[in-house]
Amino acid sequence: MTGVLGFNTTRLASPHLTPAHEAWRQTVRTFVDREIMPHVNEWDEAGEFPRSLHKKAAEVGLIGVGYPEDLGGISEDIDVFHSMIAAEELSRTGAGGLVAGLMTHGIGLPPIIALGSEDLKRRIAPSVLSGEKLIALCVTEPSGGSDVANLKTRAVRDGDHYSVNGEKTFITTGMRADYLTVAVRTGGDGAAGISFLLVETDRPGVSRTPLKKMGWWMSDTASIHFDDVKVPVENLIGIENQGFLGIVANFNMERLSMSAQAVAFARVCIEDAAIWARERHTFGKPLAKHQVIRHKFSEMVRRVNATSAYLDNCAWRVKNGQSPISDLSLLKVQATRTMEFCAREAMQILGGAGFMRGHRVERIYREVRVMAIGGGSEEIMNDLAARQMGL
């Protein structure tokens, strides 16, 4: 549905988008309408989506966008806006689990691209970018998430291999993944003792347990136990004890992408609430004609517009090679607060209808928290920003 307050009309016109960007948006839009929208509720209730979707998505360019051409990606004339359009259009489904599950390589692969040896890149990246293999990122542990520098999973070098012991948790796509990009301790305490290792999930000693969640149902999440897993030294990603750089490699794109998703989810909320507010009559007139209701739309649109402009500005700076860490952190907080506000207000407008399963707003409401916590919690983001400001 389009028209005023539709998903399209609540997107601010951006000076950074070219006809090629818009053509890409059209392709993703059509792909989502044909391949995803008709099944999205069914997949979410089933807790999974078909693995074949990864290959289909790769064929149109959704998986390879932004990755080097020689590894099977698409990078010529591609910029950060192409990736954000992908995130935004996938989010129109109102199913965060789809974006998380389909695009997990967006956090699993960059450490390999940024730090890995040529051999490792050629061995792993093409099969991931073609949608054949799935890769997940393993950083968080039962003892801590944001406090990356103190992670405990240990890899001890023994001749031509490492022996890995420890546990990772809340790992997106952990159950289905063929490859794991695992942050391990190879050296002493703190950030300077961390390395990244590529662990194939079929190695003896890797065991996985599925976790049930508040939202993101169609994306699987795992606790992964490593019990004396032997990993060849060729699987070391980059230089030993310099793995912290690999974690940083993800930050800009992850925060931009999550912000783009959050704004898109907020726009979905506005769209669905607007359709309802025009149709539903109470006390002799449409809901939308009640001042208390229509002011909610003004508030939602105001926040979405401000956040969209901030998002555009941050993306433009990243496109130009900057790394605006403070603003990207604040942007993520701004975007997820906007999503939270719009999910709440849309739910108030929808009333009982929004409380029913299968409604996009119902799902988005359940998925506010994972957006505000995953990829850097509000508290961590705000503190990081403050420290960047020299406080």
């Binding site: 549905m1 006809p19 090629a20 890409w24 059209q26 059509t30 149109v60 192409h82």
Partner: protein, 249 residues
């Protein structure tokens, strides 16, 4: 065999069309525009003919404003070889379009033109037929299957009674129906490659044909709102209403 595929820039099929408040037309301001869906099917069919070795080159042509280049680029991203925009900001009716296309067909020496059976904006369903008449070519309209057999073209048409298969001598005109194929996605790598494909721009006036409109739009209004239905108690009441209110029996 060179194939020409005309593509039209129209209001996207998802958009809820609104009539302008002065009743002179529909509101196009900030409205999403796309390639006419029947034309997408035409582009897909032409590319398939090229992939199967039947066609040698696929040329996409659009008649419309500068922005119609977006739709030509989409055809190029799907797999057409080059594009031609005949630029005009004026409304061009099917007769004018057919005249311009005839000039293009003659200049390009095309042997096959595949068109959408109609555009979803005005639903005229005339251009292909007019073009066939002007060129004196055979036509296979509302195609649901197209294949080359020897030096002829076999076209299965969707007609009221079912399907009709005809054989056409080439050169020929084909217009597409919905079930002919499912158009492919313009993948991201192909969108980027399409930016480098040739796209000529010419002014409509260069062709020296009369494309002035023959129709005058007096007024555009919203269709009347559908009123809510009523439930009838029994058959007698139904018959009574059909007879006296609806006047159909």
């Amino acid at each position: 065999m060179k194939v020409l595929v005309p593509v039209k820039r129209v209001i996207d099929y998802n958009v809820k069309v609104r009539v302008k408040s002065d009743h002179t037309g529909v509101d196009l301001a900030n409205v999403k525009m796309s390639m006419n869906p029947f034309d997408e099917i035409a582009v897909e069919e032409a590319i398939r003919l090229k992939e199967s070795g039947t066609a040698t080159e696929v040329v996409a042509v659009s008649i419309g404003p500068e922005k119609a280049q977006d739709q030509i680029r989409q055809a190029l991203a799907m797999g057409a070889d080059r594009g031609l925009l005949i630029k005009t900001d004026a409304e061009v009716e099917p007769l004018g379009v057919a005249k311009l296309l005839k000039a293009v067909v003659e200049a390009e020496q095309c042997e096959l033109v595949i068109l959408g059976k109609q555009a979803i904006d005005d639903d005229s369903n005339q251009t292909g037929q007019m073009l066939a008449a002007m060129l004196g070519w055979p036509q296979g309209t509302f195609a649901s299957k197209v294949s080359k057999e020897g030096d002829k073209l076999s076209v299965t048409r969707e007609i009221d009674g079912g399907l009709q298969t005809i054989t056409l001598n080439l050169p020929a005109i084909v217009t597409t129906d919905l079930r002919l194929n499912e158009p492919r996605y313009a993948s991201l790598p192909n969108i980027m490659k399409a930016k480098k494909k040739p796209l000529d721009v010419k002014e409509a006036s260069e062709y020296g044909v009369d494309i002035a409109p023959r129709l005058e739009v007096l007024k555009v209004t919203e269709p009347p709102k559908r009123e809510a239905g009523v439930k009838v108690e029994n058959v007698a009441q139904l018959v009574e209403k059909l007879k006296n209110e609806a006047g159909v029996i």
